[in-house]
């Protein structure tokens, strides 16, 4: 079965701007990969439980006490834009 992906829609969901050239290339490559995913149909999966993690660990808690972390300057040290001790982002509201 040949798969068709709406590549520009997927790219928008992924917050990636694609050139037309990239879109054509990725669409073809991913269609081939998705064709291969058909092998998942080769076994009966009904009633099989899901595995999200190989090790059964649930609900990991710690004491609700503050621990040392990065201080403000360290947390901001790699920010491409910052102002007044805060991350500077693009305008969200006009």
């Amino acid at each position: 079965m040949a798969h068709h992906i709406d590549i520009q829609h997927t790219a928008k969901l992924a917050r990636l701007k694609l050139t037309e050239q990239e879109a054509v290339k990725y669409e073809a490559q991913l269609a081939k990969v998705l064709d291969y995913m058909e092998t998942l149909e080769g076994h009966d999966l009904s009633g099989v439980e899901l595995t999200a993690h190989a090790m059964p660990i649930y609900d990991v808690w710690r004491e609700d006490v503050s621990v040392e972390g990065l201080d403000r300057d360290e947390a901001l040290s790699n920010a491409p834009r910052k102002t007044a001790g805060q991350f500077l982002i693009s305008r969200v509201v006009e």
């Binding site: 992924a14 917050r15 694609l18 998942l40 595995t51 999200a52 190989a54 660990i57 491409p80 305008r91």
Partner: protein
């Protein structure tokens, strides 16, 4: 033999008997890098001044005292770059903290030396996806060192590092180790804290060592493991002395050979090297029998749904706000994200983000992601059944020999299929090791072959024991590239 070409175990003896100092080792590694790295291209950056300063104050009374260890460039070391071989982090990122495993290594006296090349964000099997340059195989510099921890394996195999850290999501420690003639172990999922490892696929990623010998792998692993409050998936399990099984024989140990792994597409020369290794293991008293892992055929499809799905969510943190690249002159916040990410990520990363986004998107989630999670259960249960009969599962590490640069670049699917033998251990969370098991002549060069052993969850001691018994009764690990 130069110091850079020696094992940790050998260097530690010489340090303790005062024949050498940590500074001697670091200087020798730095000299080797200067000579060899222009052809191997294993390192992305080396801070010689810092390494020499660390060596001068190294405490050799500690278990890894004075031993320099190269770090894959996706593991944070405070004050060092951590580019993940991506343009996104190439400029203006300096790690503000240490990964937990780096803290542990430093506490054991080791020092970090150099940042090692990789496929961008650990996505790939050749280091050709590095945004900077491809690393080379020390056995033939026209060929890839494997990946994604290709810089780590190239440096250790090429004797310009004593040992290195890698990370393994679908084989990224074991496959380059096989390609470069090194030992590489991926521990049980949860053994090593992932805190400070830049996440690719969180349910599959594990940090582990790439070394010259099995003993060295055990020595480093002794200082990587344990429960960490900063990684909720790290296991609260007792950490044994991983050297405790070394030197024991393997009489009566049971090895399983999955019949599903004996597929077409495995290079016949690799097959014959592995067959010889099996005979050798039988000669050491190991019992080898055929087993079945009936869901092997869905391993790659399962992995290439789950890993990109997790990657697409993990990499959403690269938004150009808190760290990394930020596009200039964007017109609004959406454009800021779209353009920043388009400029920052390379082609393979974009491909996997798109694939992951697609399989998680509305209408496709059940068809791909849920099915893959179910298939993952079946793969895990295959191993549960196998380990009722055997202690170790044997296979080649890779179906093919190290390939020439550029050989696979046009067809992502063909690259994905080469992960056949390494992926199942990640999906099932099991420990796996690759050890050298022979050499093959190909196109006028000699290339190493890796034997993979996969063990029970948390039973790295038996795995290392078996790998060590095999290694010590052969001479493959002693052979060096020209």
């Amino acid at each position: 033999m130069s110091l850079a070409a020696q094992s940790i175990a050998s260097l530690r003896k010489q340090l303790l008997s005062k024949e050498i100092t940590p500074t001697d080792i670091v200087k020798d590694v730095l000299t080797s890098i200067e000579k060899q790295d222009p052809s191997l291209k294993a390192y992305l950056s080396v801070d010689a001044e810092r390494a020499l300063a660390d060596a001068a104050k190294a405490d050799i009374s500690k278990p890894l005292g004075g031993i320099p260890i190269g770090i894959k460039d996706n593991i944070n070391v405070k004050g060092a770059p951590c580019t993940c071989a991506s343009k996104f982090l190439a400029e203006n990122y300096t790690a503000p903290y240490n990964a937990t495993c780096v803290n542990q290594l430093h506490a054991a006296g080791a020092l970090s030396l150099g940042r090692l090349n990789m496929d961008e964000f650990a996505m790939g099997s050749s280091t050709e996806n590095s945004a900077f340059f491809a690393s080379r195989n020390p056995w033939d510099t026209e060929r890839v060192p494997g990946g994604s921890s290709g810089g780590s394996a190239s440096a250790v195999g090429g004797d310009i590092a004593i040992a290195a850290l890698g990370s393994d999501t679908g084989g990224s420690i074991r496959q380059p180790s096989a390609f470069c003639g090194c030992v590489g172990i991926k521990p049980t999922y949860g053994r090593v804290s992932r805190f400070g490892l830049v996440a690719f696929a969180s349910s599959l990623d594990q940090i582990g060592p790439i070394t010259k010998t099995v003993e060295d792998a055990a020595l480093v692993l002794n200082h990587l493991c344990g429960k960490d409050g900063r990684d909720s998936t790290s296991l609260d399990a007792a950490v044994p002395d991983f050297t405790s099984g070394l030197g024991q024989d393997i009489k009566g140990l049971r090895f399983g050979l999955p019949k599903e792994y004996l597929v077409d597409g495995v290079d016949a020369r690799i097959r014959s090297a592995v067959d010889a290794a099996i005979t050798h293991i039988q000669g050491l008293g190991g019992i080898v029998e055929e087993i079945s892992l009936p869901h092997t055929d869905v391993g790659i499809a399962t992995y290439y749904v789950i890993a990109p799905a997790e990657a697409s969510t993990n990499l959403s943190r690269f938004d150009g706000v808190r760290y990394g690249h930020r596009a200039e002159n964007t017109k609004d916040v959406l454009d800021h994200y779209l353009t920043t990410r388009a400029e920052g990520f390379g082609p393979e990363v974009k491909r996997r983000i798109l694939l992951g986004t697609y399989v998680l998107s509305s209408g496709y989630y059940d068809a791909y992601y849920v099915k893959a999670q179910k298939a993952r259960t079946l793969i895990r249960k295959d191993f549960d059944e196998a380990f009722k009969k055997v202690d170790i599962v044997l296979s080649p590490t890779t179906p093919e020999l190290p390939f020439k640069l550029g050989a696979h670049s046009d067809d992502p699917l063909s690259v994905y299929l080469a992960d056949l033998f390494t992926i199942p251990a990640n999906l099932a969370g099991l420990p796996g090791i690759s050890v050298p098991c022979g050499f093959v002549e190909d196109g006028g060069t000699t290339l190493p072959v890796g034997l993979q052993m996969v063990g029970r969850a948390l039973d790295e001691v038996t795995l290392l024991r078996a790998a060590h018994a095999y290694e010590q009764s052969t001479s493959w690990h002693l052979k060096k590239p020209r």
